[in-house]
Amino acid sequence: MSNIIKTVDVTDSLENLSEFCDIENGRISGKIFSDKAIYEQELEKIFARCWLFVAHESQIPKTGDYITTTMGEDEVIVVRQKDGGIKVFLNACPHRGNKVCFAESGSTRGFICNYHGWSFNTAGNLVGQHESGIYEASDFDKSKWGLKEVAQVDSWKGLVFATFDPEAPTLKEYLGPMTWYLDALFDNQEGGTEFAGGCIRSTYECNWKIAAENFVGDILHAGWTHDSAARAMLGGAVAKVSDFEESYSVNWNGHGYEFALDTVGNVAVLGESALNKYVHTIKPSVAERLGEFRSNMVASVSSCTIFPNFSFLAGQNTIRVWQPRGPNKIELFSWVLVNKSAPDDIKEKWRKGAMMTFSPTGVFEMDDGENWEYCTKTSKGKVTGAQDLYIGLGMNTLERQTDLPGNVYKGQLNEANARAYYQHWYDHLNAKSWSEIPDRNVGKAEVE
């Protein structure tokens, strides 16, 4: 009990915050991508507060299996317990703070600190130390000095999230009706999903929000930015999104999913016809499971970000976390997702296809990295950073008459999700606790 983490003190919000973000008028300031004071506020009011993706259950199937990752800049260990549960601990010894686990993943009986030999079991309890007798002589109570456990851990369909904030709403409330859309990728077949292969790590000199915002709802860039990559992989241009008869941008609590209903537009760019065929083959069973509408989303032209920094592309099946490393740097952790029930050769083709397109050497990833780095670099200019940036596409596109859940906007060539994302970002930075965050959702919270 006493090993529960101490929460950080919440400082006052920045006084001039509204200068950086004016969503009603469709503008943000470049400064939000480089300002150090804003970044410090983000670590405290977003990364120490929100639910953050930490693992997929398939990475740690057995007792003692663990992975290491970060929540914001805080290093954590995610470990499967004897009772089948999952705990998340700070990857720091409570004696002098040394890191206790250096591997990215593995299976263990516990964690032993290199410095003074403090030894912790997988439940985080301190079970012994080098020269343990001298601690006993000091009336040391080892039950109080286990690894520090994060406040809340929960999972949804294989995705494990954690939050440092004991006051955070439940994960279910946090995700809201977005789960209805997430099912299209994470629950389209019996047995659910798993990660194929390990974690792919790389760094970019860009602000974390630029990447997250790109996935929350910026398909607009694809036809232009990725034109040459698409020609290399597909032998032709990216699908012209404005030609789609029906597409949407949906958001909730700052999360956003933009999608078309073309079934295979995203998977097609992997250049593996067997994968397109797989999607078509499972489609009838997806329609039976999730309905016709979502069976069109399995690998369609789409992207999604769950606030603040968890993103994915259904079809390419790249799953990613934009880990903040200062205002001008991210570490990208990415994985490839497959259906557990998919044949082995299909899983392998997905792994390779995602590596060819969305990995440090991937042809699409290169295109994005260059743009994102320069969006960040220009904002470091004293004068340049103070200028307004336009974020007003698709004002007045809210669909009021719809059965779809969430805040639904017409068309995916639309900055509605980016606006909702930055509005939510602003609301967090402007709030001292969860209770001060306004509910700006206007759509249906439940699926009818």
Partner: protein
């Protein structure tokens, strides 16, 4: 030779280990491996740790602190960082009661932490 009462058969489930306090000879760990009973010193020969808090895996006891291992029937040290074998005791079962036969205290055989 002391005959030391350890516990009742009914109190020790299969593949379980239990610590029996004994100030005279040092604490004793008693094991039930598939209906066969064994007894060893409870104190790990490497560091201060009660082996009874560790896990029984097949016929090995895994120390809870540094995960060294001992072969339960013979006490042989089987895994890093344990290098010194564990003292074992012959066991007698009389009805529902399990006893260890312990040689008069030989300080050299009681492992130090």
């Amino acid at each position: 030779m002391d005959k030391v009462f350890l516990c009742k058969v009914s109190d020790l489930a299969e593949n379980e280990v239990k610590k029996i306090d004994n100030s005279e000879h040092g604490d004793i760990a008693v094991y039930n491996l598939g209906g066969q009973y064994y007894a060893t010193a409870d104190l790990c020969t490497h560091a201060t740790a009660s082996l009874a808090e560790g896990d029984v895996e097949d016929d090995l006891i895994v120390c809870p602190v540094h995960w060294g291992q001992f072969h339960i029937p013979t006490g042989k040290a089987m895994g890093f960082p344990c290098e010194i074998d564990l003292r074992t005791y012959p066991v007698e079962v009389e009805g529902d009661e399990i006893y260890a036969l312990v040689e008069a205290a030989d300080a050299a055989l009681i492992a130090k932490g």
